[in-house]
Subunit: 233 residues, 2 copies
């Protein structure tokens, strides 16, 4: 009988924000797989490390970071093929996923390749959006408000169109797009409602009003704009 | 010295989807508060019950369910005033929150009343959105896709405008709005991408293609529309 494939949401980075279910499944795993940068550093593994069994098989899937998508997809092909072999041998495989596996996560590329053939279960995790709102101490959305999640690489005119029909919004993957986003929010008169967040929930977390944001932002930074309309808040 | 107020995200309903941090803070709490229906049933308490210390003080905040908002706000006034008294006595108070405290959660009404005066910390939780995507086994959003969270009570024309500029979206609080939402998604040609979910992560979870959804939906039901555009998925 084949093993089961699990996509495990680890939450935003603080190991204490892992769920009980994900901890249990890591501890019970035969094979623990995770994405890593080429060279070997894996943020996912670092979040979960204290729960990884000593006697499990570890599988690091090194993903090239490039604008062209084919090299990364080739890495997922290779990772999926190794995982398929373990599953076929009856071993259970857990894939460690930063945040939530189905929320802008790379697990979906393994899911697309393997879930047709093998029993697959996804365990949801705390997203970076929730962690950022907690860090800023600002409610994301209440009652009948609209919340939109926007990736910063989108063209400015597409961002503006979506912001116009949102009450609150999060801009993800800010990185090198920070100057463009700052300019846009300034022109929209929204800077006063905006916060800049880096590494939410980690010891070196940074939370600043957007106007005090640094010149350069890492890829995993976010801008949260909460202009809720609830008169009771 | 005053106690600390914690808003604890419990996740979508499965007690195993509570984070390690929230479990620890419940176990250490002097006072455990939670919202309840008038009469006493509390979904939040039922999720967390196995972790509530036997010797803690429990505070049930009964919230009237009514279209008029003043009665509920009066209940938050009263709950906040009781909590303030405990905090002033140096007791730590945790408030149990379904899902994530700042994601459409009632905790924000206590937060608005108390965080100015008392040290307050929010512990993020897994949202029902992530739990629904895991239940449907459908990625929410990848790469540069836009994800929008829409409350079903909004007028149809407002929903349509927001759907037009989203790749994937979740419609929350479906309840009695189900016929309106079904009609709208049909007219937009989106029914084929839509799933109906009730009580995600609980033993009596329901997941159905939207076309098979029941006639009547409970308040805590959701429709997830995932029409992602990533050619690699």
């Amino acid at each position: 009988m084949s093993g089961v494939l699990y996509g495990l949401g680890l939450g935003p980075g603080d190991p204490e924000l892992i769920t009980l279910k994900t901890v249990r499944l890591i501890k019970e795993a035969d094979v623990v797989a995770y994405p890593a940068l080429v060279g070997g550093d894996s943020f996912a593994r670092s979040i979960a490390q204290e729960f990884i069994p000593e006697d499990c098989i570890e599988l690091s899937i090194e993903i090239p970071m490039a604008v062209a998508r084919a090299p990364a997809q080739a890495a997922y092909d290779q990772g999926a093929s190794t995982i398929a072999q373990y599953l076929s041998e009856g071993l259970n495989v857990v894939v460690l996923c930063e945040g939530d596996p189905f929320f802008y996560g790379s697990f979906m590329y393994l899911f697309a390749r393997l879930s047709g053939e093998f029993t697959t279960e996804v365990i949801p995790g705390v997203t970076s959006i929730s962690a950022c709102a907690a860090a800023v101490a600002a409610p994301l959305s209440s009652r009948n408000e609209v919340l939109t999640i926007l990736p910063a690489p989108l063209p400015t005119e597409e961002l503006v169109a979506r912001i116009g029909v949102s009450d609150s919004f999060a801009i993800m993957k800010v990185g090198r797009h920070l100057p463009k986003i700052k300019r846009m929010l300034d022109e929209l008169g929204l800077t006063q409602y905006a916060h800049y967040i880096e590494r939410a929930s980690l010891p070196n977390q940074v939370v600043l009003p957007l106007e005090d944001a640094p010149e350069k932002a890492p890829y995993f930074s976010m801008i949260l704009v909460t202009k809720g309309n609830d008169p009771w808040l």
